[in-house]
Symmetry: C2
Subunit: 347 residues, 2 copies
DNA sequence: ACGTCCGCATGAAACGTTTTACTAGAGCGA
DNA sequence: TCGCTCTAGTAAAACGTTTCATGCGGACGT
């Protein structure tokens, strides 16, 4: 706008420049910004005007230093490429914005080392709090994080500890819903394509799946478990190849994740099989791409955005004064969304 | 913080506690951390030991205040749900980590207001720099951001200005490749499903598409343009419905985005049409889900991760001393990945 | 007219680092 | 012994805010 080189001190303008120019003290400027009621209407206006004129921007570092903590919460997810976490992030961001705090989203990529690196960084930043989907199932990196006194909330991971809140979804029920649906569709031999078994989510879903077969009076043979290293599309393709080699071959598959399911779907198509006629598939998360798949995927929906908002709200309430904050664990119920990939074999 | 029971630490330990306990001055502790060579081996060891013992963690706010800028770069993307941007983020994160700086990823969701809100926040944070995919095509919010003196790099957006670097992909060529491929496949009437026309990417791809039809000696009628509000799956479905109503109906579609293409694919399937026999589809970005779609999608690949790393490197080099930094605009070339969704009509 | 309270504004003291200027001593050549 | 350099360490000054303890008139109640 103003190309005239009048104020060449770019970004250097501090609160004292404003004070000087407005003919008031530093403290008054600060008050005009933070407690407008303690300052008379016309000085307030004058200060505001000077601020605009000079393009003054508060230094968060200085505010933080004084306050002892920042206005940022961190969000550490397992996989930034998983749309489920993108939704969680959206929710968290929205809830955080309402309180004027920013969200810093980082990706541990299921790597324990990266996770602990990020946690140290958060500690140095004195972030207001951390939303974390832990990769380290032993809880080691978080145990050492706790001593910093920074509150954190577990996301998508139920936790019995009384040191923190958690927001999660009942994964056992989710697995049970999925497999019960398949059994009701007439399938007698189901495969469970799991991610890394040390992720609690995967394990819980397996337990639920097993529960469903038991309730149907089937024995352990009825549920074949295929484990994969990662919860992504490539692993799904890989699992698909393995699945096709199984004898007897299951007629239905429950995947721990929609990414796995999509990869598997692709592998199965490539092998010339039809879904759901030759193989029924259920995914998990109900990401957008599940419905958009050419054979729309039956999936267990988790309220991802809701999880994000709830987690952020809990975290903020924990830090926001709220002296009587009691840690709680919220567990949402999943919902089975039936689509074409599991149309019943016989109607 | 005066929890009576917990007498020791909890984040309260500062550099002076370390200094006192180790029997040295504050400055020496600082030196032991930042310039280990200026301190004798055994005091250094002693300081290190005390740091571990007390669980001391540097306060980034204080460091920033002194340094004048933070160790964080911001990444502001158009759509956090688009896997393309997830890849860009991965790249940026990786490059940043090598220099010990963190990445703060935020989502403007194509909303100009959110964008400018985030930019102010970045200014307050005195971030080291900003990687931005602008939603405001007029460049307004960035123009006012410039006066803060914080360097920024345009991502996925070519820019002729000499005030900043940019990393992008030649979208005109991308559009041209896509449509030329379709024309070579024997299609004479092609539709272009565009996102919001005020996004430069969409517009450039349209120009490229038009260029291809012209090169083939076709007139403007040969390219029907359908515009959508957003670059997501839902809009793709919507466009699919509109497309099916067109008379004469195009035999091939080029989508500005894989998300659009996937939505369109779904709509087309639902209408009982076959791909590519009844309709050929080309997407853009070559996200993972493009290959994983039941009809693997031909797509124009952009080196997303590379874009992220390059952008971050440019940004960091601009801030990292480098007094003779000359702004440059890197333009990558896109690559057409042919898959089943465009198998030639007659072989 | 006197004490009192109130509304506004002020100066100075934090907050926790990094960095600069300085010192005390040691080694050393002349 | 003197001067010189070198090493290891120190004290103090920033950095830009917020907040606390004051100050200073003037309006108010009596």
């Amino acid at each position: 706008m103003r190309a005239a080189g009048d104020d060449h001190n770019t970004g250097e303008v501090g609160i004292k420049d404003v004070a000087h120019r407005a003919g008031v003290s530093i403290g008054t400027v600060s008050n005009a910004l933070n407690r407008p009621d303690r300052v008379s209407a016309d000085t307030r206006a004058r200060v505001r005007a000077v601020i605009d004129e000079l393009g003054y921007v508060r230094s968060e570092s200085a505010r933080q230093l004084r306050a002892g903590h920042s206005r940022i919460v961190a969000l550490l997810v397992l996989d930034i490429g998983n749309p489920f976490f993108a939704d969680v992030a959206r929710g968290a961001e929205q809830a955080a914005r309402e309180q004027g705090v920013g969200v810093m989203m980082c990706n541990s990529a299921q790597d324990v080392e990266a996770e602990s690196l990020y946690l140290s960084m958060f500690a140095e930043q004195r972030v207001r709090g951390v939303l974390v989907t832990p990769a380290d199932t032993t809880g080691g990196s978080l145990a050492s994080f706790r001593r910093h006194g920074i509150p954190y909330v577990f996301v998508d991971r139920v936790v019995d500890s009384h040191d923190s809140c958690s927001v999660s979804v009942d994964d056992v029920t989710g697995g049970r819903l999925a497999v019960r649906h398949l059994l009701e569709g007439g399938h007698a031999h189901v495969a469970y394509v799991s991610g890394p078994a040390n992720l609690a989510q995967c394990e819980d879903r397996r337990v639920g799946a097993r529960m469903a077969t038991e309730e149907a009076g089937l024995d352990a043979e009825a549920l074949t478990v295929l484990e994969t290293d990662r919860l992504d599309v490539a692993s799904g393709r890989d699992a698909g190849a393995r699945l096709l080699g199984l004898r007897p071959r299951p007629t239905a598959v429950f995947c721990a994740n929609d990414l796995l399911a999509l990869g598997l779907l692709q592998a199965v198509f490539d092998a010339g099989m039809r879904v759901p006629e030759d193989l029924a598939i259920v995914g998990y998360d109900d990401i957008e791409f599940a419905e958009a798949a050419a054979v729309p995927l039956t999936s267990v929906r988790q309220p991802a955005v809701r999880i994000g908002t709830t987690a952020a709200e809990m975290l903020l309430s924990e830090t926001e004064g709220e002296p009587d904050h009691a840690h709680e664990s919220i567990v949402y119920q999943p919902e089975l969304i039936v689509r074409r990939s599991t149309l019943p074999r016989r109607s």
